[in-house]
Structures are given as structure tokens and as C-alpha cells.
Symmetry: C2
Subunit: 689 residues, 2 copies
């Protein structure tokens, strides 16, 4: 069998290793045999037609200590190309357009040379292998061999089943050391003023992650003008509210324009990566989903089903009250913080000593820690609850989880600021708290999230190297130890936390922009370091994640847009409360409020109109998409002829056939059709009336 | 040739007449010959393969007076069924699901019996004929024969070209007298308490119009609770603002819920009519579109193109300023009205006589007339401007026209009410103006729009009957005279004006609901008569319109939703201004305004959340749609086998074939496949590695 070669992967196994499957150490051998044979089986007999091999561990390792059930999965080149069609990969065609890849038509795609050796990237190959494993379906088996209690349902995914039952511990794609080295050097190792290599990131990590880094970069660049405009406010100590108003107005317009243009930019990226026009695959139930045996109304197959009414009840009677309770608790904690702050301030004012001045910091520190702890605990609770809601699809699970976490994080992080701004109306304190929160959260985040794990991982690497006798960490490890090392790395849990961080940052910058113009500058600085720390953690700390096709940033677009709507409201309110504004309307506060409310409504209307007027997809891409659509419609019309040409190829033959309409075909000239051979035979087709 | 028979169409022509084409009286005979031959030509040679015949006029008519170039178009049954596939008709399948009709699979659709005689409704047949005529494309011709100046472009629609050049005067489908009689009796002739026969309306007039009547009915029913709640306010003369607040709150929640549930209801309707899952056809340029010869970037064909930058310039430099100017003018006229009103009131107060009391009414009457005139003039201007913007597609033209007309009509109709409410703050006057506007506009509209044309048409009918010697208008006219009669009827210009009327009505009801709860009752009364007058005008006054497939009410959903957002703002403001509210906050007006603003924001947020939470398509329909999608995906996977089975049917034959992947087929048993015949032959398919 021929297989795709990725030069930097050592070739110890009989095929190029792509994906690692780790089964539980105590897995029944019968189940292992069954699983590997199912994976190796031809597609005709319902297998995945992949290659799989047990990882043989080196001698100098203690066999008792290491899990012996680690398997390496790969596939032949042909199988991967066929799989590329299965997963609906969209690639650039020879004429420059993006089209769904088909195996039959493979030679007409750009970059397909010879046997198609380098046509698919390693990330794509791993994605294909993952997809083929996921769609390996139970046939006659009623249960996993050796585990009579683990039932299988015909037509349902085998791998997802054994994963949710704990037989499959983990499945992950292998890193490509050489490629990774190249990527790291371009991306973060040399500090330089340049854009991120988005195409390379996508090539290695997939579209979803590349879109995150694209958004991070776009967001940073978009804030540079804000940062520049905000600087003089700090330098010259402008305390003039007129100028703040100007800044806020600019900020509001800018955030709307930025979010709209990002949509267009991401559509361009997604188009060039082939995910914009990619059709969504039919979603399988998520591994944790359970229910009683019933008939799936969509597929008509027997499988576990769970009543949607029950789920609604769980959501509205348990989850929603729980979230509301948590929000209430968070507000209570905030009130405790403010009263503690007041108490301490009172103590200090009464009898100021060194100890009381130190005491002044205690409430804020405790509150910051409590917020962080509450966020974490709530996160677990939210995950538990969403899991318990028993969503059938991963997308629905993610949406519910995101909503829960977003609402709570928003309140938890911003409630105190809102309180200071609108209840205490203390702009000085607001600015101070904003700065403290912004700076501490940045430093804390990047330390906890990237540098600490990086350091831990580095120590672990060193240990492995030492154990295998290699002293320098730059020396290459033997393949089996490299696999074991990667299997021990932490798993990257998706872009959720990274987006959440940006979302909160966006909140700090936009919600109170008119009292603290310096926030944009801090955010830019944060984002620049964020790029480096995120890049570091992706390349060095985590297992390689499976690439995930994505055409946009999904629910986060909505989240950012909602935040910018809230920002309009808060900024207008802050401006209305400013003493300068009040001095314009010395007689009547009422009139001031009415003016502010009117301006706010005009702003909101303007935002919606702007979002409506700016098309989400740039015109030149719309045209390209329309062209492909037009051509496929034309092709549909010509299908009668085309399908005929594919089959009857002997000259002079007369055939009656029945396609979308009755027709008669006379082949005038032509020979047997080869694989990529002639398609333009001379034929006569007549419709039979 | 066999053709579909509609029993009530007299069979004078050799085929069932479906559509009438009227060419200009002085059309060059060469062009007529060319056109009819192109229409009759087989599809293979690029024709439309329809039947066409010149209408022969009866003796007792003066041949000089009547246009001799009237043609009757029809089609064979088979042609219509093939055409049904071309236009993408979705029909109910035998298993209860809705599927795209295909000719090959026709026998598996519900209601297909024998030769499929009654499978398609007459409206569908007419729609198909219209589509086939529209897609009759120029081939080699460079110009219309006999008209060297009228150029033709290969691949572009012939009929649209001659229509925009005035050779084709009109094209319309024929009424079906008997069917129409049946429909009328069910629909409006017997005053009864029942729902409208939406399915029958759709059957006769198509989906778009049926959706309009569906919306009208839904809107009416939705307002009944409002009307009931509003009545006691009138009966008991409740002047208590607390109660008005209650009413307004109910109104706001209700209008949101109503618009959301309508979306679900219309999705159900569209699903059962097969338009929900229907794929949009590739849009042809609209007849009036012109440009210089260039390459269409989508199709790659040579055709007139018009730069989108030029169009944008026309829109933003001419149309937008013009619209703004018109809005300003409308405001000026309003101010003149109010000063005239003030003047007259002053006169009357100074020296009240009978004449001055009469004079009091003069400004309002003049203003009402001026508003109506301005609306009409503006409408012409908007049509002219949108035409001049030279939009390529009908949909884009319609969107721009709708937006222009909506904005102006909104301001023109509601500006005076806003002025009274928020500038003059005279609730008594507001209520009075609202009532006057509501009642007069209703009476005027229904008179001008339905009863006057109905009476005129009735007179015309009588004249035709008298001329043809039939005294009673119930007697049937000879076919040719019936055609001439219909050709003379006015053309129904689409649902735009009908929706606009409802939109304004919705504005009257919702914008100021908290000061005039009786508006809902008046609106219900209006809508009940509107159903009758609209039904009357569709059945008796206008030419039959071509049926238009539609899955929702399109841009009007957005318009109604925007109105309900504006209604939240106005109602909150009105409530805030009420004396009762002010009495709750006797000390500080500021606080009152803040509370009102907060409530308003909560309401708006609530609306958006509600719109987000309620799914647009009911769950049971989502499941049905997903099932069809799932099955088509499964079918795609099985396509290799299926296509093979369709072609090779001799037992024992071995064939190498190449589909999406290389495979070899051995047919074990089986005979020739019939049309709807066996599909489950025993075969062996092996993939070639």
C-alpha cells in the first residue's frame, strides 16, 4: 500500500503514523482484537479501511509502568483521498474557484501532482482519519465483545460509544516536530513586527484555531487607533469631558465598524480556506448523550432518544433558576465587598496607621480572588448542568454552555464596575478599579494559562529526555517515547476560554471607554503578549488538537455585538452623568436626560442600520460563490449527457436510457474512458417524446 | 399530443389555453412568425416546446378595432410535468414527506394517478408555462427578426427582451370561471364565521398571495384579544392611566409574541405548500435592466452589465438626498398644517360663528388630502428613481423600492401624531386625530381600492355582454370575448400596497396603543371588511396574476418587527409623560425618566431575547426537513449503486465503471428496469483498489 509521507515523521511503523488511540490499560483483549479488525476491515464490509498498529515500547522502559494499549493509526494515500471527499473538503480548482473535492475529479484540483502525495496537509489527513473512525458504525454487534453490558446500536458510531464508556481513554493527532519547528520560528520565536502566518497556522492547526488567531490579530489592530487617540488623554492629563465624549463617540462607531468588517474579513479567510462554502456534515449525537431506546424521528433508526420536553423542563426548572441564583449570589458577594471596603476606609479615616493603610488593600485582593474562584466553580457547575440537560448534539451543548458561562462571567466581572459607575457615581474610583482589574487579570491570565504550564511541560520533557538517555532537550526522542510524551501532555479544550478572555477584555475597553481612554492601549499591549503566549501554549504545552473546520467565530460574533450594544448604553449614561454635560443644561436635569436618551436611541438605530447595510460577505467573494452555484446548476442541466458519457463508450452503440427524462443516445466516436481521460466524445442525444 | 384538461375551460383551441400573450398591434409579421416558431420548437433545438395559437375573433366584432396579435399558449401534459421539475416544484411524496418533483420519479408522488392528469393545478401549469417562456433563450440570433435595432444576446431571455422593448404588451394567465365561482362562494360570498380557505386560495392564486391572506387573517385574530380588552376602556370611559399602562404592556408583549408565532405559522403553511424547502431559482436580470456589453462575472457570458459603483453613486448621491428632501418637505407641510390649525382655532375663539366652526375642519381635511396626494406622487418618484438606479435583479429592485416607500409613508402618516404626542403633549387631541386618521383612511382605502374598481369593472362586463348579444351577465361569454374581457381588466401589481396598508394599520394600533385602546377594535373591524374587499378585487376586478412561490412574507416581517420596536419606545415615552406617572414621583422628574428609560431598555432586551429563544420553524417541521436532508445524504452515499442499477440490467453482465470511486459491478439477477419498476436487483459491487 502507498501512503502519504510527511518527511519529518520517523518511519518506524509500516505506515505513516497520524493519530494515536489510547485504550484503557485493563481493556479486555477480545475487545481490542475486535476493534482493530473493525478498523482495518474494508469499507465494503463496513470497516474504516485504516491502518492500525500497537505501539511497541522500547526496552529501557518499565513495561509494567506504561500502558501497553496505545495504538497508532494511519491510512493509505488513496484511502485519505477518498476520505477527503467523504468529509466534504473544499479545495482550489484549476480554474481558481473553490470546489468540493471529489476523488474522480482529483487531477483537476490545484496542487494535485502525480499520486497526490502532498495534496493533503497532515492536519487534513488526521481530520479525515478522525472522521472515518467516528463514522465507523456498529453493524450486527449487539454489544462490545468482552463487555456484555456495553450495548451497541446498529448504525451508531462505535468509537463514540467506547469513548463514552471509558474503554477509549483518548484519541489525538501526532505533532510533526519539523513542521512545528518551522511554524514556531515564523510565529513567535523571533520578535518582529509582522502579521501572524495565518495560512500556516491553519495548515497545522486547522481553520477554527486559525480564525481565533486571525480574530485576535484583527482585534488588536482595530484597537491601535483607539490606543493612539487615548494616549494624549493620559499624557496631558485631559480631564475635559468634552474630549471624553469625542473619544466615546469614536469608540462606539469604531466598534460597530470593526465587528462588521471582521465578518467580511473572516468570510474572505474562510473562502480561501474552503470552509465558507463547505456543507455541514450530518451531526452525530455527542458521546455523553443517553436515553431510552426509541426511534429517531429523523433517521428512522432505533437508537437512544431523550424527550425534548424533559430537556426543556430541566433547562427552565433547574438550570435557569440555578443561574439566576448564582447571579444573585455574585451580587451579594459584591455588596459584601463594598461594605468591607467602606468599613476599612472608615477604620483608616478614624485612626490612620501603617497597618490600616495596608488593610485598605485587603478587600480588593480578597474580592479579586473570590471572583476568580467563583468563576471556576461556576464553570464546573455549568458544565455539569449542561451535561445533565443531556443535549443530543455537540453544537446545542456548546450553545447552552456558552450562554450560561457568558452571562455569569459578564456579571461577575463587570457588576462592581457598574455599581461604582452608576450607584456610587465615583469616576475616579471607576477609573482606578478598571485599571486594576485590567492589569491584574492580564498578568494573572497569561501566567496561569501559558507560562506556568509551559514551565511544567518543560520540566517533564527534561525528565523524559534524561530517562531515555538523551541529555540535550533538542535531541530527537525515539518515536515511541515521543508518542508517550505527547500522550502525557495536557489536552487543549478548544477556543472557548481564549475567546472568553478577549470578550471580557472587549468589555473593559468599550463599556467605560469614555472615562478611561487608556484601556485601549493596555488592551493592545495585552493582545500582543497574548499572541505570543497563546502561540507558545499551542506549540509547546498542549497535545496537538484535531483541526476543526469553521467558517466564522460563531456565537462569539453575537456576543461581541451584544457587548457593543451594551457599550452604547453605558457610555451614553456615563456622558450624561458628567458634570460638564450637566453644566450645559444648568436649569433642567430632565432635558439633559432626554437629550442623552435621544442620542442613545439614534446611536442604537445607527448601529442596526450600519449592520444591515454592510454586506457580510465581500462582493468579489459573493460573485465567486454565485459563479460556482451557477455552474453547478448548469452542470445539473447537462447531467443527462454527462452521466451517459461516463458509461457508454463504444462507437456506434445505440442505447435507450432513462434519466431525468427519457432520451436516446447514439455514440458517434470515442473509446473507453480512462480515469482522468477524455470526456468530450461526440454523441447525439435525443429526447424521447 | 395529450394535454392537461381543466374542465371549465372551453375547448375551442386544439389545446387547453393557459396563458395569453398580447403583442403590439403593429408588430412586424416576421417577428411574430419567428417568435411563435421559437416557442413551438422542441427543447432540443432550443425552443420552449409549448403550444401557441392566434386567438380568432368572432365575426360580430370589428376586426379593425381589436388587436389581432393575441396569442393563446398551452402545453402538453408531459411537457408540463417535465417543466414542473425545471421550476423545482416541491410536492408531497407517497411517504408523506415533501420532495422536489422529478419526472422520473413521478409515480411515487401522492395524487399522481394514471397519466398525471390532475396532478398539477392550473395555477402551477400557468406558472410553468411562464417560466418556460421566460427561459426561452436567444441562440444564434443577433437581433429580433424585423427589428434590426433590437439586439439579442446569446443565452439571454427572449421574452423579457421583447417585453422591455414593447413588442410584448402583456402576458397573463387565464381565469378558470368555474373554479373561480367555487372559490368565491367559499371565500367571500356567504358572510360566515369561518377561516379563509387558504389552501384553495393558494391553489388558485399561488403561495405569495395566499400568505398575504393568511397574514391578514392571523393579524386580525391576533388583535381580537386586544380589541376585547380595549372595549371596556371605551364603554366605562376609563381615564385611569394605570389601566392604560397595563394595556400597553400587554400590547407590547403581545405584538412580539404575535410576530414570532406568525413566523412559525407561516413556516408550517409554506412547508405544507412545498415552498419552505424549495430551492431558489437562479435569478434572471429584470426586463428593464440595461448596460453596456460586457462579461457577466458569474456566468462568464457576454451580456449587458452595469457597474455597481455607478449604481452606488446613484443611490447615495441622488436617491438618498432626494428621499431626505421629501421627508423634510413632508415635515414642512405638517408644520404648515399645525399653524393653519392654530390660526383657525384663534379665529374661532375670537368670534365664534357657524362659519368659523365649519372652518375648524378645513385644515384637517386639506391635510388629509395633501398627505394622500404626497404619498401617490412620492410613489411615482420612488419607482422612477429605483428604476433609474438600474438594479439588475428584481429582488434588489423591490428591496430598494420598498425601503424608500416605507420610510416616507411612515413619516408622512405618523409625523403629525408624533408631533401632537411629544411636542404638544395633548393626549386628547392625539386620541382624536388617531381616530380620525384610522377611520377615514379605512373607508377611503376600501372604497378606492376595491369597490370603485369593482363597480367600473361590472359596468364594463355589462357592456361586453350586451355587445355580444348576451343579456344576462351570468351567461357564459364565447371564449374569444372572455379573453378580450380579461385582457382589458386591470393588472394586479402585487401584494405591496396591501401589505403597506396593514403596516400602517399596525402602526396606528401599536404606536399609541396606551392612549387609545379602541384602535385595536377598529383595526379588527377594518380587517374583516378588508378580507372581503381584497377577495372581491382579486376575483372580480383584476386579471388573474401569475402565482408566485413564497416561503414567508419577506421584507415585511422585518418592517413589522421594526414597527414593534418603535412602538416600545413611543409607548414607554407616552406612559412616562402621563400625569398619573408623574404623581408617583412628585419630587423628581429625573427619577421618573430614569425609571421609564430603564423599563424601556428591559422591554427591548426582553423582545430580542424572546425573538432569539422562540425557534422560527416549529420542531415537527424541523424534524421533517432534517429527515429529507438525511435521506438525501444517505442517497448520495448509495448513489454509486443506484446509478449502476439504473443502467445495467442484463443478468450476468460484468461492467467496469467509474463513479465517485472505481468499482466493478456484477449483475446476478434482474431484468430490464421499467419506469417505476424494480429497483432491488441482486448485484455484487466491488471497489477496485
Amino acid at each position: 500500500t502507498l501512503d502519504m509521507k510527511f518527511p519529518s515523521i520517523p518511519d518506524k511503523t509500516p505506515f505513516t503514523p497520524l493519530v494515536v488511540m489510547e485504550l484503557a490499560e485493563d481493556t479486555n483483549e477480545e475487545a481490542v482484537t475486535w476493534l482493530t479488525s473493525r478498523i482495518k476491515d474494508t469499507q465494503q464490509s463496513g470497516g474504516a479501511e485504516l491502518m492500525i498498529d500497537r505501539l511497541t515500547l522500547d526496552d529501557n522502559q518499565d513495561p509494567k509502568k506504561e500502558n501497553q494499549n496505545i495504538f497508532i493509526v494511519g491510512a493509505s494515500r488513496e484511502r485519505l483521498l477518498v476520505g477527503a471527499e467523504d468529509v466534504g473538503l473544499v479545495k482550489e480548482f484549476n480554474d481558481g474557484s473553490m470546489r468540493g473535492f471529489t476523488y474522480a475529479n482529483r487531477e483537476n484540483f490545484k496542487g494535485f501532482q502525480g499520486d497526490g502525495d502532498n495534496f493533503l496537509s497532515m492536519a487534513e489527513c488526521q481530520f479525515i482519519v478522525k472522521h472515518e473512525l467516528d463514522t465507523l458504525r456498529a453493524r450486527g454487534e449487539t454489544h462490545v465483545p468482552g463487555y456484555p453490558k456495553i450495548r451497541l446500536y446498529p448504525g451508531k458510531s462505535v468509537v463514540r460509544r467506547i469513548q463514552s464508556k471509558g474503554i477509549l481513554v483518548q484519541i489525538f493527532p501526532l505533532h510533526d516536530k519539523e513542521e512545528l519547528k518551522r511554524l514556531s520560528s515564523m510565529w513567535y520565536q523571533n520578535v518582529q513586527l509582522s502579521f501572524q502566518p495565518l495560512d500556516d497556522i491553519r495548515h497545522y492547526f486547522g481553520e477554527s484555531l486559525a480564525l481565533y488567531f486571525g480574530f485576535l490579530e484583527y482585534f488588536t489592530l482595530a484597537m491601535v487607533p483607539m490606543a493612539l487617540i487615548g494616549m494624549p488623554y493620559y499624557l496631558f492629563d485631559w480631564e475635559d469631558y468634552d474630549k471624553y465624549v469625542l473619544f466615546a463617540v469614536f469608540n462606539l462607531v469604531w466598534s460597530t465598524v470593526f465587528l462588521e468588517t471582521w465578518k467580511r474579513f473572516s468570510a474572505s479567510l474562510a473562502y480561501s480556506w474552503g470552509t465558507l462554502s463547505r456543507k455541514k456534515a450530518f451531526e452525530e449525537p455527542r458521546p455523553g448523550f443517553h436515553g431510552v431506546l426509541g426511534i429517531n424521528p429523523v433517521t428512522g433508526r432505533q437508537e437512544p432518544v431523550y424527550s425534548s420536553t424533559k430537556r426543556q423542563l430541566r433547562i427552565y426548572l433547574v438550570s435557569v433558576p440555578f443561574v439566576l441564583l448564582c447571579l444573585y449570589l455574585s451580587l451579594c458577594v459584591m455588596m459584601v465587598y463594598f461594605s468591607a471596603e467602606g468599613l476599612v476606609l472608615g477604620l483608616h479615616d478614624e485612626e490612620p496607621t501603617f497597618w490600616t493603610s495596608l488593610l485598605l488593600y485587603v478587600p480588593s485582593i480578597i474580592y479579586a480572588v473570590v471572583i476568580e474562584i467563583m468563576n471556576r466553580i461556576y464553570r464546573y457547575a455549568a458544565e455539569f448542568l449542561t451535561d445533565w440537560e443531556n443535549h443530543r448534539l455537540e453544537s446545542s451543548y456548546q450553545n447552552h454552555l456558552t450562554l450560561k458561562v457568558l452571562v455569569f462571567n459578564f456579571l461577575n466581572c463587570f457588576a462592581s464596575l457598574f455599581y461604582i459607575a452608576f450607584m456610587m457615581q465615583d469616576m475616579q474610583l471607576l477609573r482606578q478599579s478598571l485599571a486594576t482589574l485590567l492589569i491584574t487579570s492580564q498578568i494573572l491570565n497569561q501566567f496561569v494559562e501559558a507560562f506556568l504550564p509551559f514551565w511544567l511541560q518543560k520540566r517533564r520533557n527534561k525528565r523524559v529526555h534524561r530517562r531515555s538517555g538523551k541529555v540535550s532537550p533538542d535531541q530527537e526522542l525515539p518515536f515511541d517515547q515521543q508518542v508517550m510524551l505527547e500522550a502525557d501532555m495536557s489536552t487543549y479544550l478548544g477556543t472557548f476560554d481564549d475567546y472568553l478572555e478577549l470578550f471580557l477584555l472587549f468589555g473593559y475597553v468599550s463599556l467605560f471607554s469614555c472615562v478611561y481612554p487608556l484601556a485601549a492601549l493596555l488592551a493592545v499591549l495585552n493582545n500582543v503578549t497574548e499572541v505570543y503566549s497563546d502561540a507558545l501554549k499551542m506549540c509547546r504545552v498542549f497535545k496537538r488538537p484535531f483541526s476543526e473546520p469553521g467558517a466564522d467565530i460563531g456565537v462569539w460574533q453575537l456576543a461581541f455585538e451584544s457587548m457593543s450594544v451594551i457599550a452604547v448604553v453605558t457610555n451614553c449614561a456615563l456622558i450624561g452623568m458628567s458634570p460638564q454635560m450637566k453644566s450645559y443644561f444648568p436649569d433642567s436635569e430632565t432635558q439633559l436626560i432626554l437629550v442623552v436618551a435621544t442620542v442613545e436611541h439614534v446611536f442604537l438605530a445607527f448601529k442596526f442600520i450600519l449592520a444591515f447595510v454592510i454586506p457580510d460577505v465581500p462582493r468579489h467573494i459573493q460573485i465567486k460563490l454565485a459563479r460556482v452555484e451557477f455552474e453547478s446548476m448548469e452542470a445539473l442541466k447537462k447531467k443527462v449527457m454527462y452521466t451517459v458519457l461516463r458509461h457508454f463508450s463504444r462507437s456506434g452503440e445505440k442505447v435507450n436510457c432513462w434519466f431525468s427524462r427519457p432520451c436516446m443516445v447514439l455514440i458517434k466516436e470515442g473509446g473507453t474512458l480512462g480515469e482522468g481521460g477524455q470526456e468530450h466524445l461526440s454523441v447525439e442525444i435525443s429526447l424521447l417524446a
